[in-house]
Assembly symmetry: C3
Homo-oligomer: 668 residues x 3
């Protein structure tokens, strides 16, 4: 990327009247240099089957080109026009709830030939109209693609074929591996394969979801191949990934394997939405950024994030700017708002853009102007920021899905899922200012990290567990949590003593576990902690050479360990046998980081420090104040200058940071 | 009406044995002078297709005529017999959940020709049998009619024809007005019109609900026309309207436009159910009464209200009587219980009548005897009570529906709907003893009120907003709340600065809003209030000439106003930019009432004062004690007498009111 | 039974590898002498239609026979193979939610001829293979059979035929009895009978559920007849009954009439699952045991209970043993775990057996070894324990179902159902150490009890109520609660004064009831109680000769009684007109027990005392400590010895009981 992109999604299609020139002027004032267009406008650009009208797209490209604003073209395929459903009702996905009704976006069977036929044609027509344009810098394939629960007869038939291949036509192997004998689910002939939507077998169910995720990879690959036929060398291909949604971006996306799907892209893209006002912490910005950057181990695009957002998100003074620099500090090369204006109709009327429905200047827009001006000034020092992190977190869609089938904790009470454990780990590291990359089971760069944290790797092939053993033996530090290594990749529980293959590096084992009631932790890792409770789930650890960092403080469980540490080969392996409060987790991670020889900054949340090296080869350090109180930090960069004010900064200088403010220091 | 009606619904059809003469005797003892019969008994009076048997109806009319008790005949159409569904299964409404299963009442497609055919025939037969009878004083069309979610293919086809007419066949206009371009919902040919049950477009969805409400108007008009062919001049036609149901009558009925539907009636009727025991406040009685009286600006009938009601409603001593006079105090000409006895089977077994299942005298029945005797004595002073209120509340089904699509407050947390705002306003006025009428967008009598309160008029045509401006300019006082004037009648948000056209009279504007977190109010309207919290939703008001009555007490919002007051023309316009506690609202309303020159009684809830002029032209004042403690008031009528005791009352006399008691003073 | 059975369900079919000999060795070490096999393995033993393979069954029988371990054979019918559904999709039950999807167990129409055809064939094949085997001591029919909501066209047609018979073809009688006139539900021709799944008539709905329960009786009778053709005289036929499930066994099973269904069995069987750890009270063990023992007034089998169970149930030290003796103390002749090992796949992966997934010895298994050794030593003193209880509780499926249609309490707030009342009674008696039997409406042995407690007998035929009157008149003590005698067996409310026929023996009546708000009790039964609140529901009792034990302490209800006691004939009848705290209930029950001349032990929960007479004719007394603290009791047996330690025990000796411990004393 040559410059930081600052922009918004722009929809000429949705305007209540002629606005284009006024909008371009307001964009210029705000320093906006990119817009994303065309995405989800199929019914406008192909009003009737085979009738195309790209006039909105053309006039926006004309205006932007004239104004020197770049354009990203989104293919319009994630929302289908009424005429398609009228003629081919079965393009609507059949899910566990039956065939859907037309209305929302993302309701089609992404494998359906009719949908694919029309999709390909409209993409080609759009490419013919846009790919040659100077202003067009890249393409976004579809939007937040998922499989939408598609599970019709056709999809299930594909799945059975997939299984025949996976098991080499050996039905006995499938029955054994999935444990289908249970409750008489055994399948004794391929033609007896039952409707998988009703299965209560977690192995079969998880495999089907894995297969469904692969449909997304296939779909994006198909679109990518079409787009590549048209696009120039200097144009990128991206996609707008999103995350598990809990009213905002939260964790690993259950319905897409980002690592696989990203292969179709030349640059990773993402949308990140997060709580605001008092609840703004930067955690989702950092989490989503770290994960997206790790996909291709490179800079990435923030294709959507909130401007005013939901009513409860209207940002306080300073927050929009703090958020923008937080994205950049994670290695983003763009900050793009969803969206420019606020919609006057339809379901997202209250997902508010930079402008309110009145198109007038408002506090949020005015803060965007500040950001835009600063980006113009300092952008060349911030673009293409490279990070070299010492710590990585290993995440797995397979573990996530398996733990959806088998929730962690009490079967009839409080329980949690995979992303709760991932965020427990991530958020604690974030608050400690330990920057992380992410790894996936297929990642090949384990060795580049001093420390790997493994939250709840419930389902994993033996080979992955052996690689982790090897990683420790070779000198790495591993910190794994409860519920790791429990089942193989087919969600078949190991019949070896747990934690199965990791038992070797961890030097600990267990035969039993429970959901803790009134159980505290004791021992060195719990010392001084205000919250010593064992939470949600606990394994009764029996050290086999490992050192005990914490034990269970309960009359019935006191003989068992809760947290252990083990020297293995040249490295160390830590194991958290239960969920704990953040203080205990922090203490264990600190121990691990020290053994790993990793850097532990002095600053703690709400002051967040993020680092990188810029295109000029200089170290850049961001100090982000996630609080309504002024904070101060001591600069750790020997000598440099404040990138935004231009003032010189010496090592040891005290830097004051405004409420919801940011300071950026570049080393000399 | 010549006399106060006091009665109950009576179902000879449901009796476990022969009871008629005993029941008539018990009715006479209780002073009951009217029964409502026949409603919902279709399967009894037409046991097989085309076979009619009105013997229950006949024998009850005979007995009542003999006893001098009047009869209201209800058409039986709101519950259909099994034989109809067996032969014509598609008379069951197809809703968003598909075709229903037979069982409950109110499950048919009220537009279906088969249902209409049989419905017309049974009504005609019933009319032939009843209309000429001396005891029959009027007819009730159907019962609590709604559209029951009917949305089958036939109904949707009617809807498309309705839209073609509304938009003069201009599909572009429809797409533009409803914003259907969004998410590719644009409809480019009428024959592409999608199944509207799945729509996520609030404009289209709200229009469909408006259309569905019009089916109720049409249905009642159709029944009214049939009944009119038979009924005498002295017989009325009414309907049993009901309200949004929250375990009891609560607010504006979402599924019926009462104002439109009432055109088919000669007198408005209603059912009102309300909490009881400690939770009895009279609010629902007053709210439902004020609204129903306003429909035709005349007296109305309470066709159903609770006797014993739900188990948790069994009235305390005095409450049944207090309730009865509260209905009369609102201008009701009847108090009729649902129902006489308690059902021995079926779903409403625990919706208990005046009599329990045992038909014995009980405390509630005995209190009804007291009421009946008092009505006989004082009824001629209470019937046809006319009210002349200074204040009106403007309500709108369109605003209600729009705010169902777009709830007020956080999108992912606490939110409220239209009736919460309506009741916030109404209940506060009620507790201040400010009696109100209701207005609807089509009402033409704005000018008769000193003050109009406008809660959350979210969706409104420009013409209505302009009428409100004019009303203020001409000297009226307007008090409007947040979320008013935001969209037009098609739920398209204005692209003018908010609050759009009302900005003129209000002298205030805003560009942004949020859901408050830890935001208080400060300023004169908040002074001394124990609850200063800004609740649910807040607009950042910028006065343009208006006086600030309250501002936001929060570091980030302190520059914005929360409540404003503006002189405009000869009147005043108040604006509440956020939801508040009742004390602040009361203070603002008091200010407005004073500017309007309206009377503000000294009494406050739990003492409720209601006023009217009786048929003798005399002022009547009700003092209602909604508490378990004795209360006293000072009579404000120069000279008069206690209608129930006959004692003289002078101005300034202290009147004691028993717990859950009532005093009624008539001026000389 | 010749010996106590100690065992587990064993599934060779589900093993990840060859384990049989190792498992047998571990079983022998644990003293296990019985396994239950084959249940739910249809897809394994009939892999394709008509192809049978009982090799798993054979090899397990071989191994067990060799090891001297007995075998119980379960018929495999409660989970159907995929091939059946593929060929005959309509074997899946059609319920109120439509036709199901294959996957879970217990989803078929148990009346479907195709299912019955295949079911009979596989049972016969299994019997041919197993019935002659020496190790096979008995058969379990199906498993936890219910009707699975089956309500398809065929089932409804059977139901209409059942109704024609019940009402002797008299549709008027049916309409009258069920009150179908209400809301036009009257059925005027049998061919008009509507889809009963949609009914809102509680009488019709409850009758349909009663009919559905009878399908279970019929189904088990059918299986029993088949099995009887093959089994030897010394082999028993049992079934695994279960209870209303609230995350664990809770109360009377709504979907099966155990009393009727047990007729197909030669010995009653049951599964009992209960909370554990801090929440272990023994209540469910005692409740389930007392009920199952009462079915055939004989010893019974615990065919399933938890070993490790759910994660949150992993037992504390001592608990598994305490549980085992608690079962025996109720008259169980077996303690069998579900299941031996823990499943490596599928939905019950976390319903953990004696062994974890690792098959290693663990704390729970080791405690089972202790139990097994003790059973071997002392079992002959514990088997066939007979009980002679003085108190019985009358339960009724009809009352339960009726109170599901008409919940107790507020219609729009807090309400409870039948089993809440049953457990309120049972748990209080349990904590008082009053051992109970259960009675059903059809039981003929009322006269053997000194006292009968009747919780919420809402629906009952007159004849039953007359029998209760007679019971009291003859000298019995009756303690009945609110909501008794309210409707007849057709859920038609009596039109007599309540409590209808029981009014005679109770000497009390009421006309009204309510859901109490801030109502306390006063009077002798409430004296000293810390919780005096009237809860959920209250009837306004008017004594007609009865003594008032408690009245309502509330200004509006103070004239009414809450609890009464009446001398009637030679007996006493107590009536609880409202729900109370446990102290008040205990006081009333104590009064009743004293009048009945029943024994009231000095011990109270957490010390539980259970009594019986063993095969040697000696009195045995169990002292169970349901707490984490040591407890002590004074032996009440004149002279005897500690069955587990062999030490002598004299009357008046203080016996210490370990935390979660047990002492058993046998009289000399």
């Amino acid at each position: 990327m040559e410059k930081l992109l600052f922009g918004a999604a722009y929809y000429d299609e949705y305007m209540p009247g002629e606005r284009l020139m006024q909008d371009v002027a307001m964009m210029k004032k705000a320093g906006i240099n990119v817009v994303r267009i065309a995405e989800s406008t199929w019914s406008t650009c192909e009003p009737q089957e085979g009738v195309f009208d790209f006039s909105h797209v053309e006039r926006v490209m004309d205006a932007m080109e004239e104004a020197g604003i770049s354009v990203i073209i989104g293919t319009p395929t994630y929302a289908i026009p009424t005429w398609m459903v009228k003629s081919y009702p079965d393009v609507l996905a059949t899910t566990v709830n039956g065939r859907g009704i037309y209305g929302a976006r993302q309701i089609m069977d992404i494998t359906h030939p009719a949908y694919r036929f029309y999709g390909e044609r409209v993409i080609r027509k759009l490419m013919e109209c846009t790919a040659h344009r100077k202003c067009v810098i890249g393409f976004q394939l579809d939007n937040e693609t998922k499989y939408y629960g598609t599970a019709g007869k056709n999809v299930q038939e594909k799945f059975v074929k997939y299984l025949r291949k996976k098991f080499d036509n050996d039905l006995d192997a499938l029955n054994k591996e999935f444990g289908l004998d249970y409750w008489s689910n055994r399948i004794n002939a391929w033609e007896d394969f039952p409707d998988v939507r009703g299965t209560i077998n977690g192995s079969l169910g998880a495999e089907f979801e894995k297969f469904q995720r692969s449909l997304v990879d296939d779909f994006l690959g198909w679109q990518s191949d079409i787009v590549k036929e048209y696009c120039r060398e200097d144009q990128f291909i991206t996609h707008n990934f999103d995350f598990e949604w809990r009213g905002h971006s939260y964790g690993v996306q259950p319905d897409v394997n980002h690592y696989h799907a990203a292969k179709a892209l030349s640059i990773a893209g993402v949308d990140i939405y997060h709580p605001s006002q008092e609840d703004l912490t930067g955690m989702e910005i950092a989490f989503g950024g770290d994960m997206t950057r790790s996909l291709k181990q490179d800079n990435y695009l923030v294709l959507e994030t909130e401007a005013q957002g939901f009513p409860e998100w209207t940002p306080y003074k300073g927050q929009l700017r703090l958020q923008a620099y937080s994205h950049i500090a994670s290695g983003a090369n763009s900050v793009m708002y969803w969206h420019w204006h606020s919609l006057h109709n339809a379901i997202e009327t209250y997902w508010k853009g930079l402008l309110s429905h009145d198109f007038a200047e408002n506090d949020t827009y005015l803060e965007a102007c500040t950001i835009g001006q600063e980006f113009q000034k300092a952008g060349s020092h911030l673009v293409n920021l490279k990070k070299k992190n010492e710590v990585a977190i290993l995440v797995s869609n397979e573990a996530l899905t398996a733990l959806k089938w088998f929730k962690i904790g009490a079967q009839t009470g409080e329980s949690i899922v995979y992303n709760d454990v991932v965020r427990w780990i991530y958020d604690t590291l974030y608050q400690m200012n330990i920057e992380c990359d992410f790894l996936w089971p297929e990642s090949e760069n384990f060795g580049q990290y001093k420390m790997i944290v493994v939250p709840a790797l419930y389902a994993a092939p033996d080979s992955l567990l052996e690689r982790l053993n090897q990683y420790v033996e070779d000198g790495g530090v591993l910190a794994a949590t409860f519920k790791s290594a429990f089942t193989n990749e087919n969600v078949k529980v190991s019949h070896e003593i747990q934690p199965h293959i990791l038992r070797e590096c961890l030097g600990t084992k267990y035969h039993q576990f429970t959901a803790p009631k009134n159980v505290a932790l004791c021992g060195e890792a719990a010392e001084g902690a205000s919250d010593k409770e064992a939470k949600i789930f606990m394994e009764m650890l029996v050290p086999e050479g490992a050192q005990v960092l914490a034990s269970y403080d309960h009359y019935n469980w006191k003989k068992y360990a809760a947290v252990t540490k083990n020297r293995f080969g040249k490295g160390y392996a830590f194991y958290l046998g239960c969920m704990t409060g953040k203080e205990i987790l922090e203490k264990v991670l600190e121990d691990a980081l020290q053994e790993a020889g990793a850097t532990i900054p002095a600053e703690r949340f709400p002051v967040i420090v993020r680092k990188g090296k810029n295109d000029l080869g200089k170290d850049v350090r961001f100090y982000l104040n996630y609080s309504a109180k002024e904070q101060s930090v001591t600069s750790a960069i020997p000598a440099g200058y404040d990138l935004l004010s231009g003032a010189g900064v010496k090592s040891g200088d005290t830097l004051a940071i405004d409420p919801w403010g940011v300071r950026i220091v570049e080393a000399e």
